[in-house]
């Protein structure tokens, strides 16, 4: 495996870092306080082509490899201080990947150009109040009549839903059957009758990210709006989770590298008892551990992305990287806050926000506990 970053990739990384630092880092404390989604920054991101990275040129994509896409998102995670916005961008790309992998040509022609440009905001509705980790125990139904499907049910915590134009909805097409083979996937436009989205929910962290409920009541959708074949939902779920877990980890790795940089700078400048606090091993060991965790994560991440670029399975690798990076990020943020002391606890240094944001990473896209279960299962345990 060749993990050398080529000149084109280096240039992309440089451009994204410079763009994010210049255009995306203002008013974040206020946006976080008011849980406001920065739509003006989203629009700047689509001018930059951030949503179009891995998609074919015929849909307006940049045709980049998944590894390059991960490097770009890692750069964005590093330089954009708004983790909620970064998460929102990753969700958009993942919805596009799902559609590109499993959607009909008709659906791809209709929706991918808007997703690539960012003019169409996309959400993916899987979770329900009673089915989180056990996602396929969902109750939302899609019952076929002669031509169409009628959807009924309620989805919860859906990322991007309050601002989405388009939602990829997972529902049971065969309520009597076992989950595997009973779930199908549909793409719904926001103005479909019976499609009601609720306002964004208040959260501990990632407050600019908009998460909300989606209520479907006798919501009629054409059979041609189904992604994949009937009953393919569980497989589409497993497949797309591999891409999602890798890409989210790229963003979180970028954030971890940023927190490492902040910790190094602060610990060098902050003096106590006549010397920089980095000279105390209690501090330097924490930072050294962060560095080890960043490097380990990089290797795992690039390997997983490379596997996807070669159309190979990465179920074990995506769970390992998701588990590791989210746990490392949470630990790094907690340690960075400790290193920054009272300053770190204050809103203006932004470390406390990174810490709050990091908590969700061990919950979304499969909790850490679920990933350990998956890894164990794949080991034959």
């Amino acid at each position: 495996m060749d993990f050398d970053i080529n000149t084109d990739q280096q240039n992309l990384i440089k451009t994204i870092k410079s763009f994010a630092q210049k255009e995306l880092n203002n008013n974040i404390i206020d946006d976080d306080k008011s849980s406001r989604f920065p739509m003006e920054k989203w629009k700047k991101c689509h001018k930059m082509g951030l949503f179009s990275l891995p998609f074919p040129e015929k849909y307006g994509g940049l045709n980049q490899s998944f590894l390059t896409t991960c490097l770009c998102i890692q750069a964005l995670g590093f330089s954009c201080k708004d983790s909620g916005l970064v998460h929102s961008i990753v969700t958009q790309i993942i919805c596009g990947i799902q559609l590109n992998l499993f959607g009909s040509d008709l659906l791809k022609d209709k929706y991918l150009p808007g997703i690539c440009s960012g003019e169409t905001i996309c959400a993916q509705a899987i979770t329900e109040a009673d089915s989180g980790s056990d996602a396929l125990a969902m109750k939302t139904k899609a019952i076929k009549n002669t031509e169409n499907y009628i959807l009924n049910g309620t989805k919860m915590f859906i990322t991007n839903e309050p601002i989405a134009d388009l939602t990829i909805v997972f529902a049971r097409t065969n309520p009597e059957a076992k989950s595997f083979g009973a779930i199908s996937v549909f793409i719904l436009e926001k103005d479909t009758p019976g499609f009601e989205k609720c306002k964004a929910m208040e959260k501990m962290g990632l407050r600019t990210l908009q998460n909300g409920e989606l209520v479907l009541t006798e919501c009629e959708v054409k059979a041609s709006s189904r992604i994949g074949t009937e009953g393919q939902g569980a497989i589409i779920f497993s497949e797309s989770m591999e891409w999602e877990r890798i890409l989210l980890s790229a963003a979180n790795l970028g954030k971890m590298e940023h927190v490492l940089d902040l910790s190094i700078t602060y610990s060098k400048n902050r003096k106590q008892f006549d010397q920089s606090i980095c000279k105390y091993q209690a501090i330097s060991n924490k930072i050294s551990k962060m560095k080890v965790q960043c490097e380990l994560s990089k290797l795992m991440l690039y390997k997983a992305a490379e596997l996807k670029d070669h159309q190979k399975r990465a179920s074990m690798e995506s769970s390992m990287i998701k588990y590791a990076v989210s746990e490392y990020l949470k630990e790094s943020c907690a340690n960075s806050l400790q290193i920054h002391g009272a300053n770190g606890y204050m809103t203006e240094t932004e470390i406390e926000r990174y810490f709050r944001d990091s908590i969700a990473s061990t919950i979304y896209s499969g909790t850490s506990e679920m990933h350990l279960n998956i890894i164990g299962k794949l080991l034959g345990l």
């Binding site: 996602a135 989950s179 589409i236 497993s238 399975r313 794949l378 034959g380």
Partner: protein, 85 residues
């Protein structure tokens, strides 16, 4: 070794729960019996890809192809033959 037999061995030894006592015939629905669920499908595909050096993706990934041992073996044979061509 016979593909069907290899898959049957794997299903019985690795996927069927220890408490599962029923007979597993090659035409029994693994989905209806609850042997193949969202977790088991990952384990099964990983085994098939590694054991037979093939890639299962895209349109191959349908519940019909994983309905029973016979359909899984058919899919594997098809992929192996495609690779030879």
């Amino acid at each position: 070794m016979d593909i069907e037999l290899m898959i049957k061995d794997f299903v019985i030894n690795e996927l069927a729960n220890e408490s599962y006592e029923g007979e597993i015939d090659i035409h029994h629905s693994l989905i209806q019996k609850g042997i193949i669920d969202s977790m088991a499908i990952m384990v099964l595909i990983r085994y098939i890809e590694q054991e037979f050096s093939i890639t299962i993706s895209g349109t191959d990934l349908t519940p019909q192809n994983f309905e029973n041992i016979s359909t899984i073996a058919e899919l594997v044979s098809l992929k192996l033959n495609t690779h030879k061509v």
